[in-house]
């Protein structure tokens, strides 16, 4: 027996030791660079470490969305949304061209202002980021598993989509309010009879179902200018608030003529009631032509459909659906606190902030505490809805976000500062200058029910002397503040892409786990996919030549093609066969009047080449893919039009 008892521990010990060999190493802590207490340490993310937050910063007139990390400010990716992008072939390859289609044709640019993350129960869920296109009114969906634009919906009866795309609590809708009043439907008429004849549309776009992001309904409003919006949350869920300016309905020299009224309005839309009226058949289907573009991740291809009509609700037919709340001096931002109780209007030509109470608003509606009406829409008495005024001491409040601990932070454009104040006591508790002229500001989750109140990002309009000059056009910039303590602390200046209007942020844990590494080749349903090298081929169909090409480290199949003729239209349908993380390949053809393709593992993309001259022309891989990347290249022989060169293709003979 003794023998046995000795034997067992030895065996088990050995096995344990061997299993123990497989353990991983411990993670090292980030070293401080200046001793631990400077702002540099707070914003420092050591090499190899990752940021704590994602920031989604609008690219403004670049039409893009920039993805940064916080607190480092490092730029990770620029997502083209309303702009063509030669780097990613967005808008250049055949698959994504339909994304930029509109009722006015292909438009390769727009002005992207406000990113908005999708929410579930009023909290950021990290599924999608939406962003508006201001010029040719559009909204877009960026899928945050792939960080690519996957859906764009144009807006009919709208002009200048500024108050957009703010979401409702469960991403039931994103909204879009027109910045310009225009004839609805559009028609030829004199401009100087705008007053009373132009209209403003507020669109509610279905957003929680990819592939079906279309206008659910529009509320046809008086012809004011609609500036920004935010939806209610918690108790105020079911309402969306829009700021208006130019309630004067001026049509010229607006800087003066639309700044005359002491008070403009916050429009409160009861969209749950709107849904009820729609169900009762109160909606009217009117002409309204708009494009709906959807990128299918399985076919790797976008399609564009044109929709001809839109359902419109007229407030006159829908009592109780719309109310106006007075707000001083052309309000810009309209922000709802995390509890859904307070609605903060930022009168941009004023020194003060106006805070209305949702509870008081409901009570005022019940008590019919009206102060007349505008085009039949009841105007609630200012005192009946007002909860308080923040006397800021600054000038030009634009936008407010919240920390979820009873504090609000408002940007002041004219006095170039962030002001921190307390909800309910309305007292100002701190202020910091911005360099220079802050527009919007952003706290990750700061317009949701659950802010992550550690950092605040100021999105500035002017840079001047903050960076090395780059000629007359200077870099765009944001600033990072620590808001974890009583006092705000400036940590970092960092450059951004285009003009950063608004931004959104979320903790990395909400987004990172959903990030895809590859596309499944097996599930690739592209009509011209080629899944194995032995299926690689060239087919002629009249003057169209279709190349079914594959790419894998480190060759194309086929890499020699003959029988192409001058005057042909050659389609390169290229599939990346790789199924490993971070193994894209690129491809470009000498003389092709388009961009390169940058193709992710498992993806198929197409470009067209129309050879103009006989010869032997090269193509090559543009993304450094491997030690033999430089060898990843091929030839196409181009013969004279009408020649008899046989169509053939090969790899390695």
């Amino acid at each position: 027996m003794k023998r046995i008892l000795m034997f067992i521990p030895i065996v088990l010990g050995t096995v344990g030791l061997m299993i123990g060999c497989n353990g991983g190493g411990a993670k090292k802590a980030a070293p401080a660079i200046t001793g631990g207490n400077s702002p540099a340490d707070a914003a420092y993310v050591a090499p190899g470490e990752q940021d704590e937050y994602y920031a989604f910063i609008s690219g403004g007139f670049s039409g893009q969305l920039a993805i940064h990390g916080l607190p480092s400010g490092r730029l990770f990716r620029v997502v083209p949304v309303y702009s063509v992008d030669a780097e990613k072939a967005y808008g250049f390859n055949e698959e994504t061209k339909p994304m930029l289609n509109t009722s006015h044709g292909f438009i390769p640019w727009d002005d992207a202002h406000h990113p908005e993350l999708s929410q579930t129960n009023g909290e950021v869920d990290g599924k999608w980021c939406f962003i508006n296109g201001n010029n040719t009114p559009r909204v877009a969906r960026i899928d945050l598993s792939i960080f690519e634009t996957t859906e764009i919906c144009e807006l009919p009866n709208s002009a200048g989509n500024h108050s957009s795309p703010f979401t409702t609590e469960n991403t039931e809708y994103i909204v879009a309010g027109t910045r310009f009043a225009v004839p609805v439907p559009q028609k030829d008429m004199p401009i100087n009879i705008a007053k009373g004849n132009f209209k403003g549309s507020l669109s509610f776009i279905k957003a929680n179902e990819p592939g079906n992001m279309k206008v659910a309904f529009q509320v046809l409003m008086p012809g004011f200018d609609y500036d920004l919006a935010h939806s209610g949350k918690g108790k105020s869920h079911g309402w969306t608030f829009f700021t208006t300016y130019n309630t004067e309905e001026a049509y010229t020299l607006k800087e003066v003529n639309s700044s005359q009224n002491d008070k403009d309005f916050i429009a409160a839309i009861n969209w749950k009631l709107a849904e009820k009226y729609l169900a009762e058949g109160k909606g009217k289907e009117v002409p309204g032509r708009y494009a709906h573009n959807y990128y299918d991740e399985e076919t790797h291809t976008a399609t564009s459909e044109m929709i001809e009509t839109v359902t419109v609700l007229d407030p006159a037919d829908c009592p109780g659906m719309v109310y106006f709340m007075p707000c001083p001096k052309s309000p810009h931002g309209i922000d709802v606190d995390p509890t859904g109780s307070y609605i903060v209007g930022a009168g941009k030509l004023s020194a003060d902030l106006t805070v209305h109470s949702f509870d008081k608003m409901i009570a005022a509606i019940e008590a019919k505490a009206f102060d007349g009406d505008a085009y039949g829409i009841p105007i609630l008495q200012f005192d009946a809805v007002n909860a308080g005024t923040v006397s800021s001491g600054g000038l030009g409040p634009l936008h407010t976000e919240f920390d979820g601990k009873g504090n609000a932070y408002t940007s002041f454009f004219i006095s170039s500062e962030v002001v921190k104040w307390k909800l309910e006591s309305w007292e100002v508790v701190d202020r910091v200058p911005c360099y220079y002229s802050i527009g919007h500001l952003m706290i990750p989750g700061g317009d949701s029910k659950k802010p992550w109140a550690k950092y605040l990002v100021a999105l500035n309009k002017i840079t001047k002397d903050r960076y090395l000059p780059t000629g007359p056009e200077l870099c765009q910039s944001a600033q990072l503040f620590d808001i974890s303590g009583e006092k705000m602390k400036l940590l970092l200046d960092f450059p951004t892409v285009g003009e950063p209007h608004y931004a959104q942020g979320a903790h990395a844990d909400v987004i990172k786990p959903m990030s895809k590494k590859i596309f499944s080749l097996e599930e690739n349903k592209h009509p011209y996919v080629c899944k194995t090298e032995k299926d690689a081929r060239v087919e002629r169909d009249g003057k169209d030549v279709h190349i079914y090409m594959t790419m894998i480290r480190s060759h194309f199949a086929p890499d020699n093609i003959e029988g192409v003729k001058v005057g042909d239209r050659v389609y390169f349908h290229v599939t990346n066969l790789e199924q490993d993380w971070d193994t894209p390949h690129g491809v470009s053809m000498l003389g092709a009047q388009t961009s390169e393709l940058l193709i992710m593992p498992g993806q198929t993309e197409t470009f067209i080449w129309e050879p103009k001259a006989e010869g032997v022309w090269p193509f090559y891989c543009t993304d450094f893919c491997s030690a033999l990347h430089q060898e990843m290249q091929g030839y196409v022989r181009v013969s004279a039009a009408g020649s008899n060169t046989e169509l053939k293709w090969s790899l390695g003979d």
Binding site: R3, I4, E578, Q579, D580
Partner: protein
Amino acid sequence: MLKQIPRLCMLLTIPLTLQLFFFPLWQITLEAPQYPEGITMYIWINKITGSSEFTLQNINILNHYIGMKYIEPDSIPELTYFPYVIGFLVFLEIIAVIIRNKWFYLGIGALVFAMACLGLYDFYLWEYDYGHNLDPNAPIKVPGMVYQPPLIGSKMLLNFNAISLPATGGYLFLLGNVFGFLSFVTYPLKKRK
């Protein structure tokens, strides 16, 4: 109760052998700076899998630069007949539990041990074949370099650290063999005349 120990040990060898259908026998991990997560290939009695669905394809892509043959499970006959060998071992172990014979017990222990040694030798031969039998036209040729992974332990192969170790199934199988021998060792001495 003590009398039952040998038989219990033999009984334990059955699940410890059968588990090979559910756990991999061996694992080879490749580590390189560009592969922070490592690439691990698992060798089962009937298949080869990886830490991801596409591990084998990705290893083959890397291996082609040095001219190593593609690792194709279909071309490895062992993966077809190993399950039968294991099935046969389980059959013998069941017989052993039924007939309760000390020498049969020893025979099982020895046979399983021999099988394990043979299996290791076979594994070594495959490693040798993959490591030495290289395409003379390979893009990367380092004079004198062979790419045979270690039988057990780790070894630098160019930029990759190759680590070869038993996997869960392998350890459990080894434990089964220990119990096989224990069933012999614990067999009551007094029965011997």
